[in-house]
């Protein structure tokens, strides 16, 4: 704080607030100590800059004021060209520039589009296989089937109907009120959709949103036996993941939840699709609709398709489209006005086993008939 005291002395010196004795002493100090002399010079300069800035700022605004005033009174020639005159003036002034700019833009557009056409990868569309799972219907015993059929005949219930589900995928909760995200292809052509939790229990769901182009669907749990969790452990990211970022997924390629890990291998998907990522991960039919999480346990995407001609090449819809879907839901239906996606997770510094332990109860098997 010595410098503070020194500054105070300097200010008193500059402002002439020192007694004559003090002044003589200070000037002596200045002479013998070049550092202090430099401080005095610098401070004087700076205070001058500071006050001068304010003075000129005020002077400028006064000039502006006077300008407007005089223009209004007609004491100086009106500075504003009005209506047509102004347009004609601007056209004349900029027509050459505009013509050049337009032709450059045209040439660039043509060059770019031909470039894009020539370099974009040409892979046949059939290389993509949707990872929904054909559930083995034979697994169920005939007896059981008959029993279930009888039950359907005998009781009309609101509980999920007892049906043999032929295909399936994975879905995960995106809010605490029972809203799930999955792939649109998992549930397309479905007459019945239910989800099965990690505990083996079935819950009835309704499809509330479907976008085939982005391969994204939202399901709402409508079952009264569903217990809403207090919070979700993971956040749904708005920003895209980073190249080479390690990721993991949880899904139901079989009746058991299965963990898989890999990395984000490209920021675009099949044929340069900017809505998806390419991920190197082991995935099987049934993994469709599962969450892709980064190492902080944030959802960065939804696993959707894989390239059949290459092993371990999987594409995932970017998680920001979940946010987009919620936005459009809000516009369509006021019931979703208050839907909030989790934007902060609680998994950041946990090790992977702990993370998975916390996430697995929020990942469901989607069963479709």
């Amino acid at each position: 704080m010595d410098e503070l005291k020194m500054l105070e002395q300097i200010e008193r010196y500059i402002n002439g607030q020192m007694s004559p004795d003090e002044r003589v002493q200070f000037e002596q100090l200045r002479k013998t100590n070049p550092e202090i002399d430099q401080m005095v010079v610098e401070h004087t300069f700076f205070v001058h800059q500071f006050t001068h800035f304010d003075e000129i700022k005020k002077f400028k605004s006064k000039l502006n004021d006077i300008h407007i005033d005089l223009a209004e009174k007609g004491a100086i020639q009106s500075t504003r060209l009005q209506g047509r005159a102004k347009v004609v003036y601007l056209v004349n002034k900029y027509k050459r520039v505009a013509a050049i700019a337009a032709s450059i833009a045209g040439i660039t557009a043509i060059a770019l589009s031909s470039l894009v056409v020539s370099v974009s990868p040409k892979a046949p569309a059939k290389e993509i296989a949707q990872l929904s799972r054909q559930i083995d219907a034979l697994k169920r015993k005939d007896q059981e089937l008959n029993q279930e059929l009888n039950q359907v005949k005998n009781h009309v219930t609101t509980a999920p109907p007892d049906i043999t589900y032929k295909t399936g995928g994975t879905g995960f909760l995106i809010n605490t009120k029972g809203l799930l995200a999955t792939n649109a292809h998992v549930i397309q052509n479905a007459s019945h959709v239910v989800i099965q939790g990690n505990n083996g229990k079935d819950y009835a769901v309704q499809v509330v949103f479907m976008d085939m182009a982005k391969d994204l669907a939202l399901l709402q749990i409508v079952d009264s036996s569903f217990k809403a969790p207090a919070s979700l452990p993971y956040a749904i990211k708005q920003t895209p993941g980073e190249l080479a970022e390690p990721v993991f997924t949880l899904g139901y390629p079989r009746n058991e939840i299965v963990y898989g890990e890999g990395y984000l291998s490209a920021k675009t998907g099949f044929k340069g699709d900017t809505m998806t990522y390419q991920i190197a991960i082991a995935a099987n039919p049934g993994n469709s609709g599962g969450p892709i999480l980064n190492k902080a346990g944030e959802v960065v995407g939804i696993l959707s398709t894989k390239q059949t001609s290459a092993e371990g090449v999987v594409f995932a819809t970017q998680s920001k489209f979940i946010h987009r879907a919620i936005d459009s839901l809000r516009r369509q239906d006021t019931a979703f006005g208050k839907v909030k996606l989790p934007n902060a997770g609680s998994l950041k510094n946990l090790d992977r086993t702990q993370q998975v332990k916390k996430i697995k109860d929020f990942v469901f098997m989607v069963k479709v008939n």
Partner: protein, 187 residues
């Protein structure tokens, strides 16, 4: 007679007197606007250039050593012409219309000096802009409004004058750092 009038006007300008500024503005603006409009400029450019010249004149009028060696109109017109020429050159454009009949004086040094002032002004503006509150108000209260520390401590909610002094010191050091980092790197 005219010279006397102009001396009076300059004295008024030095005191930041609105009447004097208005009179100068009224008498000399149109000519400058015509010059700029004829040479690839807009009315907005004309206003900028003229006001820049007014600042030059204001700084001159304030210094006691300054005496006008030409007519006021000639000085303003010469400064404006020089500023506009420089701006056009910056955009790689040049004056087209040459005006023969108007008297000109050399003002290169003045315009150069004004450019330095503009640089300082912009630097300070940027520094103060990134300083933030309450530092900005605190420094203004002390250095511009010249209020004493007791008073400042009271209105800024510091427990005592010493506290306010420490805060002011910290703010000043920050502003100096912001200012000089740009100022020295461009100098």
């Amino acid at each position: 007679m005219k010279a006397d009038n102009e001396t009076l006007l300059l004295r008024g300008l030095a005191k930041n007197d609105r009447k004097a500024i208005e009179t100068i503005y009224r008498e000399h603006y149109n000519l400058v606007q015509a010059l700029v409009l004829k040479n690839n400029g807009t009315a907005e450019d004309a206003k900028d250039v003229f006001q820049e010249a007014m600042i030059v004149l204001y700084e001159k009028a304030k210094s006691e050593s300054f005496t006008l060696t030409s007519q006021l109109g000639t000085f303003i017109y010469s400064v404006c012409r020089r500023i506009w020429l420089k701006r056009l050159m910056h955009q790689n454009r040049f004056m087209i219309a040459e005006e023969g009949e108007l008297e000109l004086i050399g003002v290169e040094a003045e315009v150069e000096e004004q450019e330095q002032h503009n640089h300082e002004f912009a630097t300070m503006e940027k520094a103060i802009g990134s300083l933030g509150e309450p530092c900005k108000s605190l420094l203004e209260a002390f250095y511009l409004e010249k209020r004493n520390m007791q008073d400042i401590a009271l209105s800024f909610g510091y427990t005592n004058a010493d506290n306010a002094k420490t805060q002011k010191y910290k703010c000043l050091m920050r502003l100096k750092k912001l200012f000089f980092s740009t100022y020295n790197s461009n100098a």
